[in-house]
């Protein structure tokens, strides 16, 4: 099944998009579209898993190595879960959201396989374009739109800077294929090109000091849309980041220092700011920044182990935080809204505890193994002091994650809340996230094995 058969998962997602666009004509309208989308995404994920690693396509533009397959499967799975939840709990007209989400998934899947600058840029755009719309999905809520506008303008600025950097990168190396970069002779311009290129990627992954858009955008947007935007593209983003880093790191060592600076800044700033948040969306935004910091700490190690750890960690972050955001969408955006949640929905709250524990890094959950391999790579690269910073900040992260747990277990419910309409599919989606957090923790072996050391 070599050759263009490799693209079947992408095609399936495309079919999902089409279905969503013509949903009004197809059975089930919004709900049908979401369910179909979820099913197709799930099948796509299965297809990726089944396919063996194929050789590059389109003259090296798309490489289907194990890291790409891991990211494509992960992205498809995440969006499948999200779509399942939307099908159950989505209010109002959600078929456009389904379409846009699937577009973004497609973009992310391509992004993770792209080994050509042009393809990469286009895939990134395809992944982020729908995100702008999803952020401002509720047309009637002006704050939502304003948040989306801010996000859009800042994101456009950073992607233009990235494109400017990539243009220099192409200019200096003469080729757009990532494999072939040799910046040793390029002098200052080469470094500048790399720096500008990474600015865009930093912004996409919401790493400090380019993370400013995330808290405001998350706060303005609908929690269920934020759930998708903040998690699904992250894995692919990490792969793209790592792939570009790998291609330039050898010949431009300064880049790993830049990445290291950004990593430490993200860890400290992210955790520090999250401590004081009362809106869970802003808290998860800042925690996203912090986790990107951890991820980049491993990538900065510029070793095969570091890259694999970074990508695995992105997935280990994405799964629980998707579950948490979906819970936020159900329970309410403020920490107080979680008060007394345990008496209302014990199972869901237990799920939240598991997911938050994984974000903190409590074993035997997937977050712990993510952090373990990550610290191992970072220590291997001699970043002992920075690992200490990472370790301290993850203790701080325990402080603010626990606030949610404390509220849901011991808080007194402020206002009498109408019990949420029980929905099987909704809780199944959350349950899948919780299950994945637990199972992947115990079965970290095969996952890490699958990731292997594709990226040198």
């Amino acid at each position: 099944m070599t050759g263009y058969g490799l693209l079947i998962p992408e095609l399936l997602v495309l079919v999902g998009v089409a279905w969503a666009l013509f949903a009004s004509a197809l059975p089930g309208r919004d709900r049908g579209a979401a369910i179909a989308g979820a099913a197709l995404a799930a099948v796509a994920c299965a297809a990726v898993v089944v396919q063996p690693a194929g050789e590059a396509l389109f003259g090296g533009a798309l490489a289907f190595d194990s890291t790409a397959r891991f990211a494509r499967a992960g992205t498809a799975a995440l969006s499948a879960v999200w779509l399942l939840w939307t099908a159950a709990r989505g209010q109002g007209r959600t078929r456009e959201a389904t379409a846009l989400a699937l577009f973004a998934t497609l973009g992310a899947m391509l992004m993770s396989a792209a080994t050509d600058l042009v393809t990469l840029v286009l895939a990134i755009e395809l992944a982020t374009m729908p995100a702008y719309v999803l952020m401002g999905y509720r047309r009637e809520r002006v704050e939502g739109l304003e948040g989306a506008l801010k996000y859009f303008l800042l994101s456009l600025l950073t992607s233009l800077v990235m494109m400017y950097g990539l243009s220099f990168l192409y200019g200096v190396t003469g080729t757009t294929r990532m494999a072939g970069f040799d910046l040793s002779g390029a002098g200052v311009l080469g470094l500048l090109a790399v720096l500008l290129a990474f600015v865009g990627l930093f912004a996409k992954l919401s790493a400090a000091p380019f993370h400013y858009w995330a808290p405001d955008a998350y706060e303005g947007a609908e929690p269920w849309t934020v759930a998708f935007v903040s998690t699904a593209p992250k894995v692919a983003g990490a792969v793209a980041f790592v792939r570009l880093l790998a291609s330039v790191a050898a010949t431009a060592p300064v880049v790993s220092t830049i990445v290291l600076v950004a990593a430490v800044a993200s860890m400290v700033l992210g955790n520090l700011a999250a401590l004081t948040q009362t809106d869970v969306r802003r808290m998860m935004a800042y925690s996203g920044v912090a986790h990107t910091g951890y991820l980049m700490l491993a990538a900065a190690g510029a070793g095969a182990a570091g890259y694999a750890a970074a990508v695995f960690y992105a997935f280990a972050y994405a799964v629980p935080s998707l579950g948490m955001m979906l819970l936020v969408a159900e329970e309410g955006v403020l920490v107080e809204d979680f008060a007394g949640a345990f008496s209302r929905r014990p199972a869901a709250v237990w799920g939240a505890v598991v997911m938050l524990a994984s974000l903190i890094g409590i074993p035997p959950l997937v977050g712990f193994f993510g952090k373990l391999t990550l610290f191992q790579a970072a220590l291997g690269a001699g970043f002992a002091p920075w690992v200490v910073v990472a370790v301290l900040t993850s203790v701080v992260s325990a402080a603010y994650y626990l606030r949610i747990v404390r509220a849901s277990f011991f808080g007194e419910p402020v206002a009498e809340r109408a019990p949420l309409a029980p929905s099987v599919a909704g809780s199944v989606a959350v349950a899948m996230c919780v299950g994945a957090t637990l199972a992947l923790g115990l079965a970290a072996g095969p996952l890490l094995g699958w990731l292997g050391t594709a990226i040198r």
Partner: protein
């Protein structure tokens, strides 16, 4: 021939404790016959053991020994063992006889107390511990029994724990003796470090080749422990207060056995002390000082039991003097005789207190006429204590004096004679206060048969025991001889002087003696004695109150400072977070918003499209980019 029945001697009383422990009060009351009979059986066995070890004398192998492994540390076995040798056999007899007398006596004395069962259980446990200590041939087992006795004395002193007095006294006793025990622990560590075993024979045998300071450390430790247990100055403060316990218990513990354990252990381990001569002299000094000081304090006490308590301290001082002079035999012989007549005196005091319903001698008088047997036995005991001729006290004290003369410690002899004189004085003072003079209590009547029986037995032994001196010495393997005539004369003279002074002050008077006239004349010296030489005062303020304040301070320090510092780190982190958040909201945002609001003039509509906050974000982003670019260029360029 296997004499394993010897192990029964300590086992029987221990068994009675184990039997009585789980029972309810009523059940214990019904089984009250068990402890005394167990004790009597143990006494019989001790006598049998004594006969079996006759003629004694000094030879390598103990008559019987048994050992068992307690544990393995670093591969080496940690053994415990019992052994029967002449010293042990003799002391066993003494202890069991006194203990049996006390148990029988207690049947009468304690029968009205509803927790009587518990009293007998603990008494039996105590005796078991003492017997095990006597038989022990292993210093670790000795220490274990040593502390077990401490526990039993704590429980017995604090028997009436509803009252404030016994509660405080028991705690004081336990802690003061434990201060002493620390010395024992250090000695054990040094022994294990040097000899690698606690087996007494091996330890003594190898004592020569130890590291230089080791013998000193061990002997100092053992001395300190003995001072704690045998209430020598400065660790004597607990014994007078220990009188708050039941009198028969005091009779057994604070006359015959526990306090004597210190002397016994030092006697056993004397060869080690020989390797640290300085400690021997120190012991002699401590002994002499204690004998004299305790004697003085006994002379001013009004509580009959306190007088006897200080007298015990003083007599133990004498034993320490004997040990200091290097003669274990003299010390052990005095220990034996003292055990008999002091327990007799205590039991007598018990009867007196029951009769006079008070412990204060000033409210007693004229008991002689109504309690003939008690008076007789008590008189024999007092005379023995005073050191009058045919009685046991005279012989054992003289032996100590002869040893001292033989070792040329003339200064100490002076102290000892002075102390003996004092002893004679306060004994007569006590006798006259209690038995002569006007009766102050109504219907004085003789004690019950079960209480008088043991007292007469002890009185009989006190009469006879003196003459056993030389045979006792030979039994222990030393050549025994009668005290020289000169020494005998001197000590009788001293005793006579003491008794005479006693009679002159307190004897032959019709009305109650008032001592106010003497208080003025002796003035502050008298007050010092009454204040027990200010030992208690200094200990209370210095150690006890000091420790209270120190622990209050430590607790406050821990709750506020250490907790604060460590929590502080956490709160500091949150504070910086709040600071950063405020900065981000207020300053960065405010400035820009300020500008935006100013432009409100052009209609609210555009405000919506205002990109106030966005501007500053974009500036921050571009600023970051520019800064990074400069870094790259500068670093590259340089």
């Amino acid at each position: 021939m296997i004499m394993n029945w010897v192990a029964l001697i300590p086992a029987l009383p221990a068994l009675s404790f184990v039997v009585l422990l789980p029972l309810s009060r009523a059940m214990r009351k019904r089984l009250l016959w068990l402890p005394p009979s167990a004790m009597a059986a143990s006494a019989a066995l001790s006598l049998a053991a004594f006969v079996r070890t006759w003629p004694g004398g000094h030879h390598e192998e103990p008559v019987w020994s048994i050992a068992w492994a307690l544990g393995h540390v670093g591969g080496r076995p940690l053994e415990l063992g019992l052994a029967l040798d002449p010293v042990a056999a003799a002391t066993l007899v003494v202890v069991t006889i006194v203990a049996t007398c006390v148990q029988i006596y207690s049947l009468g004395y304690m029968h009205r107390d509803e927790r009587e069962g518990w009293y007998f259980a603990v008494l039996s446990l105590f005796t078991a511990a003492m017997l095990a200590l006597v038989l022990s041939d292993n210093l670790l087992l000795t220490f274990a029994m040593w502390e077990m006795m401490g526990l039993c004395s704590y429980l017995l002193i604090g028997f009436w724990y509803e009252l404030e007095g016994p509660r405080k006294a028991s705690q004081k006793a336990f802690l003061t003796t434990r201060v002493g025990d620390l010395g024992f622990l250090v000695a054990l560590f040094a022994i294990w470090a040097n000899a690698g075993t606690f087996e007494l024979a091996e330890v003594l045998h190898g004592a020569g080749e130890w590291a230089p300071g080791a013998a000193l450390v061990v002997s100092l430790g053992l001395l300190w422990a003995a001072m704690g247990k045998s209430a020598q100055i400065p660790l004597h403060v607990w014994l007078p207060d220990a009188m708050a316990g039941p009198t028969p218990a005091s009779a057994l513990i604070h006359a015959a056995t526990m306090v004597a354990a210190g002397v016994f252990v030092v006697a056993r381990t004397l060869p080690i002390f020989e390797h640290a001569p300085g400690v021997l002299t120190a012991m002699m000094v401590v002994g002499a000082a204690t004998a004299l000081a305790a004697g003085l304090m006994a002379a001013v006490q009004h509580d009959i039991k306190k007088v006897l308590a200080y007298s015990t301290v003083s007599q133990l001082g004498l034993m320490f003097v004997a040990l200091g002079a290097g003669s274990a035999v003299a010390a052990l012989f005095h220990l034996t005789t003292h055990a008999f007549f002091k327990s007799l005196l205590f039991l007598g005091a018990g009867v007196i207190i029951h009769a006079a319903h008070t412990q204060d001698m000033r409210e007693m008088g004229g008991l002689a006429r109504h309690m003939p047997v008690t008076t007789a036995t008590f008189t024999i005991g007092s005379l023995a204590l005073a050191g009058v001729f045919p009685l046991a006290g005279f012989f054992s004290k003289d032996e100590i004096v002869t040893v001292l003369l033989h070792e040329h410690h003339y200064v100490t002899v002076g102290f000892v004679l002075l102390a003996s004189g004092l002893t004679a004085f306060y004994v007569t003072r006590l006798w006259f206060r209690v038995f002569s003079g006007p009766e102050q209590a109504e219907e004085l009547h003789e004690a019950h048969r079960s209480m008088l029986g043991p007292m007469t037995l002890l009185a009989a032994i006190t009469l006879v025991a003196g003459f056993a001196g030389p045979t006792y010495a030979e039994f222990l393997g030393h050549e025994g001889k009668w005290p020289e005539v000169t020494v005998a004369l001197i000590s009788t003279l001293v005793a006579a002087v003491g008794i005479g002074a006693g009679w002159w002050f307190y004897g032959g008077r019709s009305k109650v003696v008032n001592t106010r006239v003497w208080k003025q004349r002796l003035g502050y010296f008298y007050d010092a004695l009454v204040q027990k030489l200010y030992f208690d005062l200094t200990y209370d303020t210095l150690f006890i109150k000091g420790y209270f304040r120190a622990s209050e301070g430590a607790s406050a320090f821990d709750a506020h400072v250490v907790d604060g510092v460590v929590n502080g780190a956490g709160t500091a982190w949150v504070a910086t977070a709040n600071g950063a958040h405020a900065f981000d909201q207020g300053v960065v945002d405010g400035a820009v918003n300020g500008v935006a609001d100013a432009s409100k003039g052009i209609g609210g509509l555009f405000r919506r499209l205002q990109t106030g906050r966005l501007q500053n974000y974009q500036r921050l982003v571009v600023g970051a980019v520019v800064v990074l670019m400069l870094i790259v260029i500068v670093s590259r360029g340089a």
